[in-house]
Symmetry: C2
Subunit: 345 residues, 2 copies
């Protein structure tokens, strides 16, 4: 038996989530049954899509149960094992976040080969679902072609930070990002390889976009929705693609905010607007991790994270992420890294 702490959703948030929507719950975990392992979680991520999963049933999107642990990406170390492929000490990634310990079936585990040049948090960021999201969004959904000009909103967020760099690695033309502060915008250009950036807190978003991308865009990678989508529709060229990856402006106000006034551009410019979820692109993961690990070691891809310490501050971290306080991936550190003994092979 192992005592564990889980964060449960106890009430569906109305608008911005508040502390009382969640509760830390102590549970006793059994020893691992056949095919299971007990994992001590080291780091977990908090992500915008989680706000949607907190909502009541939204067609096509799995909703979290109340009074049950939430889930999400985490990296941990195997403490006890009844699964041959994952001996004690193995470093693993899995979906049993929002708790300090978890019983995980072997089928839900992915082995991480320790590499001193790659921090564990990168496996939640550019080497994890974040990186894969940016990659398949650009390569498989947008089907970006060399030289095409791209605007990425939420560019200083986790997916945005990865997407700007990956757009460059895929041969994009001008890469423009928008973010929520002047400091973030500087980071886009100075550290993340964006050609230009702008703060979306401007009276005239279309004008800011036009200044950053004077000849228009071919691809809009949307993490925001709303007024950002309207600006993109005003700036996009014929046969442009709009990849709908997120809609953070919508998450706290589902169904209440009107859409863009210029959707007719979809018709007049013969656009393709396509939503996707990384969950349906997992077949691309192995190839992506190999490629992205090389990029990371070569320094052509960097992982940007903001770390909050303590599972008891995970809800705080989630709320801070929703209001844009993070740079890159918002990570919660739950316990210490495993000792680099190499015993996990």
């Amino acid at each position: 038996m192992t005592r564990a702490t889980e964060i449960h959703l106890v009430r569906r948030p109305r608008g911005e989530p508040v502390d009382d929507d969640f509760r830390a719950v102590q549970v006793e975990l059994d020893d691992p049954g056949p095919g299971q392992v007990l994992v001590r979680n080291v780091v977990m991520s908090v992500d915008p899509y989680m706000r949607v999963r907190m909502a009541a049933v939204l067609p096509g999107y799995p909703s979290w149960d109340l009074d049950a642990p939430m889930d999400g990406s985490a990296v941990g170390v195997v403490l006890a094992s009844a699964a041959e492929a994952f001996p004690v000490g193995t470093v693993v990634s899995h979906r049993y976040g929002w708790r300090d310990h978890a019983l995980v079936p072997a089928g839900g585990l992915r082995r991480i080969v320790p590499d001193p040049s790659i921090p564990l948090t990168a496996h939640l960021d550019v080497l994890g679902m974040t990186g894969l999201t940016a990659f398949v969004g650009l390569r498989d959904v947008a089907r970006i072609r060399p030289g095409e000009d791209v605007w990425i909103s939420g560019a200083a967020g986790a997916v945005g930070a990865a997407a700007g760099q990956i757009a460059r690695l895929l041969g994009a033309g001008r890469i423009v990002g928008s973010a929520g502060s002047a400091a973030k915008v500087r980071q886009l250009v100075d550290e993340l390889g964006y050609d230009a950036g702008f703060d979306y807190h401007v009276p005239d978003l279309p004008a800011a976009l036009a200044a950053a991308a004077p000849t228009g865009i071919d691809v809009y990678f949307d993490n925001v929705g709303d007024d950002h989508l309207e600006a993109a529709l005003g700036s996009i060229r014929a046969h442009g693609r709009i990849v709908v990856c997120g809609a953070i402006n919508q998450y706290n106000a589902l169904g209440e905010r009107p859409g863009p006034r210029n959707l007719i551009a979809i018709l007049t410019q013969r656009l393709r607007v396509e939503g996707f979820t990384v969950r349906e692109h997992l077949a691309a993961y192995d190839g992506f991790v190999a490629q992205a690990s090389d990029w990371l070691r070569q320094g052509s891809l960097v992982s940007t994270v903001t770390v909050v310490d303590g599972l008891d501050r995970a809800v705080h971290a989630f709320r801070e992420m929703l209001r844009g306080a993070n740079r890159g991936k918002m990570i919660v550190r739950i316990s210490d890294d495993p000792a680099p003994t190499g015993s996990a092979g």
Copy 2:
């Protein structure tokens, strides 16, 4: 020299077009120069997209010049020819509508082989761009699969009347149409092969759609935009496709009406929303005409037209079409059919 009457656009309409936005202008046409023919127009069409071409520059959409003849599909007969392939008497279709006579270069002509079982107006309707629009929208843009359920808005309009029938011929499952009157809705079901229909003049459009398509839809063929698009987003299944063919609700109010409040469905349901114009699918035309002519002769496809007599009533016909007074294709008859001599063979 031939005296001709052309309808010119003389002012960009604000909201609903009015008579003073247009003018009938008398011109003298030269005799055909090398490679040209003089055509007497017999019938022409008025179409929703023309309202967009009357607007000032809309990115990606060619705008009509002021004080120049408008254009559009027409069928006529060659009166004088300096183009070997199109001798006098040949029946032709072309883009020089909105006038009773036109000088047309041979490259802009398409020969129509007279067939007593097919009225000339069908070449502007199911055998023309209207039919091709419905066909490529369903086959190439939606990529409809056998058994998939479809909603077609503006279903009693020209494209809608063709689309319902073509969806059936392509193997669609349940086919639902919406239109602007109870009589039109009856026609959808009684004559055009729709499984169900509803009048969009209801207090609750999503409820009307849900009643007609109780298990949801896979494809929405959008001729309307606006509240119709919002209803579709609420009813569409995962991986659904929304084909944006027209947006008649927007045409008189470009840029003024907010979009749907539930665009987040594009993300949560992983939808593809794609706009297209038939002008970019002309390579499919020959194959389509052959197929559709067979369907027409077999009676599995019918052409539905509303005919207004006289070029001097073309603007009236256009305005009536915009407010939905037509059933099927709105046609303006300009002159008598050519005598069926067969001399044009």
